[in-house]
């Protein structure tokens, strides 16, 4: 994951505030019907046991069941997909089949839970990630060329001027 930041579940507070509140109970992971959330392993007592998502493993489908399960408010109780605010997808146009001109691929657009708002098709062909993207990682998981990377919100705030596009 870029900068070592982790993609957190929907509704997660800023990384510092999230880590201060998360008691590592794992309820969000246990209640995720898709198995998208898993607990960070390792020996670091700050992060070990905290929830994360790896889109290449299983993306978040924005069912929004995890935020209300959090007993400490580390995940804000948001209910709307559009407010998940996990991060943002970044599209590498050099790797995208459509931009490359080899194949007209619309997989990311078809699978995006926030289709036509978070991910739009420029001229009906070229996928463009907008500011409405919440970073669920679905596009990253379905992209056949692995041209999309989901940047956690924590890495976006550090590098606010670039990256996602």
């Amino acid at each position: 994951m870029p900068d070592g930041h982790l993609l957190r579940p929907p509704g997660a507070r800023d990384e510092d505030a999230f880590l201060r509140r998360c008691v590592q109970c794992g309820r969000c992971a246990q209640l995720c019907p898709f198995g998208s959330i898993f607990l960070e392993t390792g020996f670091d007592p700050r992060t070990s046991g905290t929830p994360r998502i790896d889109p290449r493993r299983t993306p978040c489908w924005l069912c929004m069941r995890c935020p209300p399960a959090c007993p400490t408010g580390a995940l804000r109780p948001v209910a709307e997909m559009a407010k998940a605010d996990m991060g943002r997808a970044w599209l590498d146009k050099a790797r995208c089949s459509t931009y490359e001109g080899s194949v007209l691929c619309k997989t990311c657009h078809e699978k995006c839970p926030l289709r036509n708002t978070a991910l739009i098709m420029d001229m009906g062909m070229f996928p463009v990630v907008t500011d409405a993207c919440v970073g669920c990682g679905v596009c990253e998981s379905v992209c056949p060329r692995q041209a999309i990377v989901t940047l956690p919100r924590a890495s976006l705030s550090r590098d606010a001027d670039g990256g996602a596009a």
């Binding site: 998360c22 246990q30 607990l39 007592p45 046991g49 959090c70 007993p71």
Partner: protein
């Protein structure tokens, strides 16, 4: 109909809790969600239960605490207020493993009294206080949760569902090996910070459930004390001392039953009945 020994009931509860907590992540993965979480924060049938130390760390670090966590911590502390830190004796999976290790150690003749200082609760309180202060002053994540061995047990199964193995859990068998070799329940007596708030909560309630000692009924000699031998935490139920470290497991009461029944469970300070002589005093709690 004879009453089942308390120890058998306690073992059944301990094993039952360990099995349920192991099954929870697998049940959740199958869509059974009436219970979820681990020993740090649990939700069963909508009733929140949580580790008070975990909640205290969040409250100190984030300067706020969401209602479910606060309620869960209050319920756990309320239970401890009345019944004492019974979580340690009846629910903690590490406590169960530690007790079994201690029993094996005893059979192998490795348990000797007076090997370690009795002031275990002071050491645990110091560790919990330092941890809470560090988390509160520096705004750190709840680092003491990493020392929660019941949570480590839960996590082992939570990770297993995701296909991971959590390496830090290997510290548990290593710790049990050390405890077995020493013949002392080191973690529960000297380290476990999670039990501190439960023990202190019980101390606040003089009317709570306690093991009380009636000297007039005691048939044991000075050096022949079944109650002391029965206590795996090396507490002396006959000594007059703060009872905070006693988990109300009842092992001393069971051992004393055939020797006059000088030790009994009672709410608050038990008064002597007619025909009983000697003093009554709460059990020792070093």
């Amino acid at each position: 109909m004879t009453r089942p020994p308390l120890r058998a009931v306690r073992r059944a509860v301990q094993i039952g809790v360990a099995l349920v907590m192991a099954a929870v992540p697998f049940a959740n993965a199958k869509g059974v969600n009436w219970i979820s979480g681990n020993f740090l924060a649990l939700d069963a049938l909508g009733l929140p239960l949580g580790d008070p130390l975990a909640a205290a760390q969040v409250a100190l670090s984030a300067r706020e605490l969401a209602r479910p966590a606060a309620l869960g911590a209050c319920l756990a502390l309320g239970l401890a207020l009345v019944l004492g830190p019974v979580f340690c004796a009846y629910a903690c999976p590490y406590g169960l493993l530690s007790e079994w290790t201690h029993a094996l150690s005893r059979r192998l003749g490795r348990v000797r009294a007076g090997r370690f200082p009795r002031k275990g609760l002071s050491a645990r309180t110091l560790l919990a206080t330092i941890g809470l202060a560090a988390v509160g002053v520096f705004g750190l994540p709840p680092l003491l949760n990493f020392l929660s061995l019941p949570a480590a047990y839960s996590r082992l199964w939570q990770y297993a569902v995701s296909g991971f193995f959590w390496l830090p859990v290997l510290a548990v068998p290593a710790l049990l090996l050390v405890e077995g070799l020493c013949g002392v329940r080191l973690w529960c007596r000297f380290v476990c910070p999670q039990s501190v708030l439960l023990a202190l909560s019980h101390r606040l309630a003089p009317w709570g459930l306690r093991t009380t000692f009636t000297a007039g009924r005691c048939r044991c000699g000075r050096d022949d004390r079944a109650c002391l031998a029965a206590c795996s935490l090396a507490l002396d139920p006959r000594r007059k001392a703060p009872p905070a470290a006693c988990t109300n497991c009842g092992d001393c009461v069971e051992a004393c039953r055939e020797r006059g029944g000088a030790l009994r469970f009672a709410l608050g300070r038990r008064r002597e009945g007619p025909g009983e002589s000697g003093s009554t005093r709460p059990a020792d709690g070093s």
